[in-house]
């Protein structure tokens, strides 16, 4: 990065730190190199396949950080729980591998994030603050066309919970909402059928039928003759007891295919609801009620949007997209992406509420937390050239000052009055260069 680009980036970072700082956010830093463990979630594979990971000489698996949130939440969770909210901001490089086939395959492997976390706040007004701050930062930089598209994982989970589905089925549906939104209903149905969520005799293959029969007869035999008969010795590192225990747990959670299909239909409709906040909210409610579902969390979404308005965000900059989901199990509430005008091709950043993240990181309690991050490189690209306030440097020539000592003295004098100045040891004329 050249000096002009760096100066611009520094100016942008300073301005954004100023905005967040005025709202009481304190800076925090986390290591670039972390134990891989920190980023390998208990569920979800979105990031783990993109890590720059390797074994360090000690044998420990380490990775370059792909994001900040996990490390910051760990920092907070490791300190004793405090009253009130903790507000933290951060910035620095993050690293993610993208293969050419990936959606963001044209992106660089290293990019800069600047973001904020609010920990310990449950109120929707906290969500409103985060959304408003994301837009406020852009405005400070002179980017007036910022726009936020809001979704809500909680609404989806809440709605699905009325269909008596297993966690596994719910996770499957939410992970596939992006596809449903894009009209890939058939592909999702096919996958659900292969995974056994939907069973129809037409598509049920002989293998699946044979498996079911075998499972039934095995259980029968285990019940009447005890363990060990059917299993042989090839159960590997798992004991027959463990297998049967998990099998019966799984069987007790078997989803009713009709319930699953109804849920899939409802979710497909809901995933396609998007647009201006007020009308989309109404449409979303209509989809839910026509499916006989009351998702109470939809009122939370309304409150979040209302809070953003109280923070001064005009309603034409807020829209809803129920089909948004990040496919990560720890998001629990609203989530949002920041766009420039109507350009949906690239986000300037995004965020959300992830009350479940501390648990996913291995802590035994949920800590309410939310936040967002800018993709600083996109933000800088959206900023006009006005932020380039790098000053010219006055060159002081040794020859024309008569001696090195004289030139040094003159340069010092200039610096004393706040001017950039450097000494030219060769040129005979004092000149001013950029």
């Amino acid at each position: 990065m050249g000096s002009t680009a760096l100066a611009k980036r520094d100016a942008v970072i300073t301005a954004l730190r100023g905005v967040f700082g005025l709202r009481g956010y304190d800076r925090s830093e986390t290591p670039i190199l972390e134990q891989t463990e920190l980023y390998i979630r208990k569920s979800g594979g979105a990031l783990s396949s993109r890590l720059y990971g390797f074994s360090e000489p000690s044998g420990l698996e380490v990775s370059l950080r792909p994001e900040f949130t996990s490390a910051i939440l760990r920092q907070v969770a490791n300190t004793s729980p405090s009253k009130g909210q903790i507000r933290i901001m951060y910035d620095g490089p993050v690293f993610r591998y993208a293969s050419p086939e990936d959606e963001d395959g044209d992106k660089t492997r290293q990019f800069t994030q600047l973001g904020a976390e609010m920990i310990g706040a449950t109120a929707p007004s906290a969500d409103g603050e985060i959304i408003a701050m994301a837009l406020e930062g852009l405005e400070t930089l002179g980017i007036t066309g910022g726009r936020v598209v809001v979704g809500h994982v909680g609404v989806l989970v809440d709605a699905l919970s009325e269909f008596n589905l297993s966690e596994r089925a719910k996770l499957f549906l939410i992970n596939n909402i992006g596809k449903l939104k894009n009209g890939e209903f058939a592909a999702v149905s096919l996958k659900a059928t292969r995974l056994g969520f939907i069973t129809e005799s037409v598509v049920d293959d002989a293998q699946a039928a044979a498996d079911r029969e075998r499972i039934a007869s095995t259980i029968e035999q285990v019940l009447s003759e005890g363990m060990g008969v059917q299993f042989g010795k090839n159960t590997g590192a798992r004991t027959p007891a463990e297998i049967v225990a998990r099998l019966s747990r799984k069987m007790s959670q078997i989803d009713n295919p009709e319930d699953f299909k109804r849920a899939l239909k409802m979710l497909t409709k809901l995933s396609q609801v998007n647009g201006p906040a007020v009308s989309a909210l109404e449409q979303g409610e209509a989809v839910l009620s026509s499916a006989g579902v009351s998702a109470e969390l939809i009122s939370n979404l309304g409150e979040v949007l209302e809070s953003a308005k109280i923070e001064g965000v005009s309603s034409d900059r807020l829209s809803i997209d129920f089909g948004m989901a990040r496919g990560i199990a720890y998001y629990t509430g609203m989530l949002f992406d920041i766009y420039l005008q109507d350009d949906q091709s690239e986000t300037l950043g995004g965020g959300g509420r992830y009350d479940g993240l501390t648990r996913a990181l291995g802590y035994d309690r949920d800590v309410p937390s939310l936040g967002f991050a800018y993709n600083l490189d996109s933000v800088i690209a959206a900023v006009g050239p006005s932020h380039d306030n790098s000053q010219k440097t006055t060159m002081v020539s040794c020859v024309s000052e008569g001696s090195v000592a004289a030139a040094v003295a003159k340069a010092k004098q200039l610096r004393g009055s706040g001017k950039r100045s450097a000494i030219d040891f060769q040129n005979s004329n004092e000149s001013s260069e950029g």
Binding site: K42, S43, G45, R168, D211, R214, G232, T235, G236, E242
Partner: protein, 339 residues
């Protein structure tokens, strides 16, 4: 004059398949003896054949020491340099079909999907150890596992006989190449329903930079893929001939193409048969899809045809070679200006 360096697998199923394919295409390889690792194609001067281990071919093409080569698609994806110079030249030669699959011990009745496996990995983790997977193609497998949420896993390197790993106790599950799944079943292993990492067959890959910037190499490569494409297409066709009586060539042609389902007949030729006695017999020649053959034959009979015969054809060419057109498109990013 730069020769095109064509890397072929030196042994195994892909060697046999490649030899057969090239023979069928009239591109037989001449190899002085089976210990020689270089050879040529007499019908295509300007091509040097290099016999290489399959695992090396992609790497050699990436590195530019070979220009094009035959490899398994799985092997290509495993060892290629992403964003490197290698491009797919032909995406399916029709042999070497296999898939890379995740399989678990059959008695694990509760594990049928990747989601189950992710669950088991967590259970193992809770007991303080990682799920061990014995695999070939570690790069593809690791990414597939991660994408499916199987994150707590350690890879066990095994070069052959993967199927035994769970019984021997040095791995819990395996990722292996299978064509039919029989070997896996016989070793007490079961493929997960959504456990297919990649479906593979033999393909031709090429160094895009080499072809984009060397017209002679591109021309040689074109001849190879054109012949392969035409030969593959020809397998779907037969040429049918028969003698039909009629008033004129035009009239016979009208009768033959009368049935709408046969209107997609290719290369219809009608020519008079000069028997010396009667001149109202015509020989009809037509190229048909093998699936249409019974219909065409009975249509010929309905028209009073005699001497009906069907032959295999060696090549069927279209107006354009689609594979080549795609290649030219794919080569654009590699074109160096000034050459």
């Amino acid at each position: 004059m730069s020769n095109l360096r064509f890397a072929l697998p030196s042994s195994g199923a892909l060697y046999d398949g490649t030899s057969k394919l090239l023979d069928e295409c009239g591109l037989s390889v001449r190899r002085a003896n089976s210990r020689r690792y270089t050879a040529d194609i007499p019908s295509l001067p300007g091509v040097d054949v290099l016999f290489q281990r399959q695992s090396d071919i992609t790497i050699e093409i990436d590195g530019g020491s070979a220009d094009i080569g035959v490899v398994g698609l799985d092997r290509y994806y495993e060892s290629r340099l992403e964003r490197g110079d290698t491009v797919l030249l032909h995406d399916g030669l029709g042999f070497g079909d296999s898939k890379l699959v995740i399989a678990v011990p059959d008695p694990w009745l509760d594990v049928t999907s990747m989601a189950d496996l992710a669950d088991i990995a967590l259970e193992f983790r809770a007991k303080g150890r990682d799920l061990r997977i014995a695999c070939k193609y570690e790069r593809l497998v690791k990414r597939f596992l991660n994408e499916n949420g199987v994150n707590y896993v350690s890879m066990v390197h095994v070069s052959g006989g993967l199927e035994a790993a769970p019984v021997m106790g040095y791995a819990d599950v395996i990722a292996d190449i299978t064509a039919t799944g029989t070997t896996l079943r016989e070793n007490g292993l079961r493929i997960l329903v959504d456990g297919t990492v990649i479906e593979s067959q033999s393909v031709i890959v090429a160094n895009g930079r080499a072809l984009a910037n060397d017209q002679e190499k591109l021309t040689q490569a074109r001849q190879i893929i054109e012949k392969i494409e035409a030969s593959q297409r020809a397998k779907k066709y037969q040429r049918v001939t028969g003698d039909i009586q009629g008033e004129s060539e035009d009239e016979v042609a009208r009768q033959v193409t009368h049935r709408p389902e046969l209107s997609r007949l290719d290369g219809l030729t009608v020519s008079a048969v000069h028997t010396g006695k009667q001149n109202n017999w015509f020989t009809v020649q037509v190229l048909v899809r093998k699936s249409d053959l019974p219909d065409v034959v009975s249509h010929f009979r309905d028209l009073g045809g005699i001497g009906i015969a069907a032959n295999d054809v060696q090549y069927v060419y279209r107006e354009r070679c689609e594979t080549y057109d795609r290649l030219v498109e794919n080569l654009k990013p590699f074109k160096e200006s000034g050459e």
